[in-house]
């Protein structure tokens, strides 16, 4: 069959010898089992008989490698709490330990890290003090540069299109105060500046509920209860959800001396989660459920 099929591809000059080719192919096919078995037996026999003269290529003798000076490390996932770090910084621990505690504040949110960094400013070790200072300055500088950029943008923006920018600048000044990066008279000056920009934002866009709420919070901090009251009302009118306004209304009531109103004002917050056992009675008191 093979011979006859192959004949079709032979050049014409060779087609006459097709019978001899077919006979040869038939002979090879017939003898293949015996020839194949014999070849396999000879190959195996030679392989087993022949002495091994060389090491196999896939293996090599090596010296025991020295231990690494530092083991490769998995990405760090160590958690630090502000309380633990505060304890280290407040204790008479070694300066190196306090230094590492300041480094570890990188893992904390700024609101928790900044009080710890301020503690470090009075530390006896230069390294701890300077690291704390430069970390504080880093946070403060970032906000101040943002303020500078936005104030420059404000100068280049037409007044009627600048409501959003005024709101952002007010938020930046508020952030400086809220994070505790400014204190004393500078704190009050910062809040006053935040208040001015929030007022400008509201004057240009009275429906900016966020700016109204911010103005209320700033006014509360400045002790200007009337301004806070107006701003809270403006926030509600502009569509701020009651739930977000409630804590500041409650704070205002407290500062007004209307402590009895606080529970009712906090009612919209109803199911607030609290994880601190010590606060249970305080929360129950303000909700008016003490002694129940």
């Amino acid at each position: 069959m093979i011979g006859l099929t192959a004949q079709a591809f032979f050049p014409p000059s060779h087609r006459a010898r097709v019978r001899a080719f077919a006979a040869l192919a038939a002979l090879v096919a017939f003898a293949m089992p015996a020839v194949g078995a014999l070849g396999l037996a000879l190959a195996l026999g030679y392989g087993l008989w022949r002495p091994q003269r060389e090491q196999p290529l896939w293996s090599e003798t090596l010296d025991v490698p020295p231990l690494l000076q530092r083991a490769p490390r998995a990405p760090a996932k160590i958690a630090f709490t502000a309380d633990a770090l505060r304890q280290i910084l407040g204790s008479r621990s070694a300066p190196e330990r306090r230094f590492r505690a300041i480094l570890a504040t990188r893992a904390l949110p700024p609101r928790e890290a900044i009080p710890l960094l301020k503690t470090a400013l009075a530390d006896g070790s230069d390294e701890v003090r300077l690291l704390g200072f430069s970390r504080l300055e880093g946070v403060r500088r970032e906000i101040e540069l943002r303020i500078k950029a936005r104030l420059s943008a404000l100068e280049a923006t037409p007044k009627d299109a600048s409501a959003r920018l005024h709101h952002r600048v007010a938020e930046d000044y508020w952030e400086l105060a809220f994070l505790g990066l400014v204190e004393g008279e500078v704190y009050r000056h910062t809040l006053r500046t935040a208040s001015e920009h929030a007022i400008d934002a509201l004057a240009l866009d009275p429906k900016n509920a966020g700016a109204a709420l911010l103005l209320a919070r700033v006014s509360l901090r400045l002790g200007d209860r009337d301004a806070a009251r107006s701003a809270l009302e403006a926030a509600v009118v502009a569509g701020m959800p009651r739930r977000r306004v409630a804590p500041y209304e409650a704070e205002l009531a407290l500062r007004d001396g209307r402590a009895g109103d606080v529970a009712a004002l906090l009612a919209p917050l109803g199911g607030v989660r609290h994880d601190h056992v010590a606060l249970t009675r305080v929360i129950a008191f303000w909700r008016g459920s003490a002694g129940e």
């Binding site: 690494l68 490390r73 160590i78 480094l103 690291l131 430069s134 880093g138 101040e144 004393g184 008279e185």
Partner: protein, 508 residues
């Protein structure tokens, strides 16, 4: 003004003292530079050659001091030139030199005593052919293998590229300094005003010539570099490993910090005496590897003849002017001074804050300070006066303010005391000793001002307001400052001390 004098020693001539200065005199004004100027002028019987090391030549175009006649030589070397001058070529390298270098690195890393043999061989090789040694370290196959091995041994989880370039960046300037050591004219003694690159060069010069090396540290160089490096945003933290743990310094930052600590140890190894301005820094030098028996304290001193007459030029009434004499740079924490003025001006509307010092060293910081003045509504209240002669401004000040976050023994406080100006100072360096006194007989003199914690505008302002509104307290502080500086911090005492140090060194 005529062109500044640039003296050069002829070949074969030598100076008495070779001063090695990194980033200070005569191109940068400030406390350390003033101190160097005082020393040179106070010792006219000695000749000085100056070797200035700077970062980039473009930052040091103008000399800030007129060189006294006893300065007989000045030359400058710039670290960035080290990177520009490299011409890589394929070479096999010197395995023995690399082994010795590795041994030295291991000793520095382990804070072990330095082996005289390995260090001596490296220095000898550096001195004999700095260029070939640089090529060996930076471009040879042997060095490549050594860098690879150390990478695998110490930080295999780090980016190799970052490791490789850190090794090159840190070491390249050292070869440039070795070339500088080869060409600097010989001196009878060398005096480095810091560790770091200046200290390393001092060590090379001392080894090459066999002459003594004196070291005076105003601040602690390696500590200052450490703080800078911890905040440097040009250094990226470990990328491959996913970052260092929050309470750890990343490997590359640590490597840079170790590099400067290593230079400190090499300088301490070669120098004698090792001088600090006050005992706190002397103890720090010992903790960092200085041999205790070679350490000593020489405090700063003030030229009373220059400053005492200024007391008579003061108004009878205490001026409500708070002055900060210093460069407008972050380490002086000018922003805290400005915030302090916000508080002071609210309580005392007639008060003024004067910033007296150059603004060209860190222009972006100076701009931020101007912005802060505007943001706090202090235009017209806080004035940037630029560089002024102390004699012109000191009689007009009610208080000398110092809000620095790091100092050693600031001359400005002593100059203020000598001129009859008490101070409010941050609690840095030995400022507490300057205000309250160090030794018992010094403390008995009284309190020359107030000391507050750093970066605390409220406390600083409270202290300033208290002194400015209580004339009796102000006068008591003024008297204590005058007496303290006249008894314990005179220029004559300091010059005498250095006359002794140099006399001993040049005759060694």
């Amino acid at each position: 003004m005529s062109a500044p004098r640039r003296p050069k020693l002829a070949p074969g001539q030598r100076a008495d003292v070779g001063l090695i200065l990194e980033g200070t005199y005569p191109y940068v004004s400030g406390g350390v530079s003033s101190w160097v100027h005082q020393i040179i002028r106070g010792l006219p019987e000695l000749t000085f050659s100056l070797l200035f090391i700077g970062g980039d030549s473009s930052q040091y175009e103008k000399m800030r001091y007129e060189l006294p006649p006893n300065v007989v030589h000045l030359e400058e070397h710039y670290l960035v030139e080290a990177a520009r001058r490299q011409q890589p070529k394929a070479i096999a390298g010197d395995a023995r030199f690399l082994r010795q270098s590795e041994q030295l690195h291991d000793e520095l890393r382990a804070r072990a005593p330095l082996d005289r043999g390995a260090l001596g061989a490296i220095i000898e090789r550096l001195e004999s052919d700095p260029r070939a040694t640089q090529d060996d370290f930076l471009h040879s196959e042997t060095a490549w293998g050594a860098i690879r091995e150390r990478y695998l041994a110490y930080c295999p989880d780090l980016s190799f590229l970052e490791y490789f370039w850190t090794v090159r960046s840190t070491h390249a300037p050292l070869f440039m300094l070795a070339r500088a050591a080869k060409v600097f004219p010989p001196a009878r003694a060398y005096h480095s005003i810091s560790t770091g690159f200046a200290g390393f060069l001092g060590m090379l010069l001392a080894e090459r010539t066999g002459r003594p090396l004196v070291l005076t540290e105003h601040g602690i160089y390696s500590k200052e570099r450490k703080i800078e490096l911890l905040q440097a945003d040009w250094l990226k933290d470990d990328r491959v490993s996913g970052g260092a743990a929050p309470d750890e310094v990343s490997y590359i930052r640590s490597a840079w910090i170790r590099f400067f600590e290593g230079l400190g140890r090499l300088t301490y190894h070669a120098a004698s005496p090792i001088i600090a301005l006050y005992d706190g820094n002397r103890l720090r030098q010992i903790a960092d590897g200085a041999a205790e028996e070679r350490t000593r304290v020489i405090p700063n001193g003030i030229d009373l003849a220059r400053f005492a007459p200024l007391r008579d030029r003061r108004d009878a009434k205490v001026p409500r002017v708070l002055g900060l004499l210093g460069r407008v740079v972050p380490i002086k924490d000018i922003k805290t001074f400005i915030r302090t003025m916000r508080v002071v001006c609210s309580a005392m509307p007639d008060a003024e804050g004067w910033l007296i010092g150059p603004e060209d060293e860190d222009k972006s910081y100076a701009r931020e300070c101007h912005d802060l003045v505007a943001n706090l509504g202090l235009e017209g209240k806080v004035k940037f006066l630029g560089f002024q002669k102390p004699e012109d401004v000191l009689p007009k000040l009610g208080l000398m303010m110092l809000t620095s976050i790091s100092e050693a023994q600031p001359l400005v406080l002593l100059e203020g005391f000598a001129s009859g100006v008490p101070c409010v100072s941050s609690d840095v360096g030995c400022c507490r000793d300057l205000v309250h006194g160090a030794a018992p007989e010094d403390r008995a003199v009284g309190v020359a001002g107030r000391v507050v914690s750093i970066a605390n505008p409220d406390a600083t302002a409270r202290a300033a307001i208290e002194l400015l509104s209580d004339e009796a307290a102000w006068r008591a502080a003024q008297q204590a400052g005058i007496e303290r500086v006249e008894r314990f911090y005179t220029l004559a005492q300091m010059i005498d001390n250095y006359r002794g140090v140099y006399g001993e060194a040049v005759s060694r």
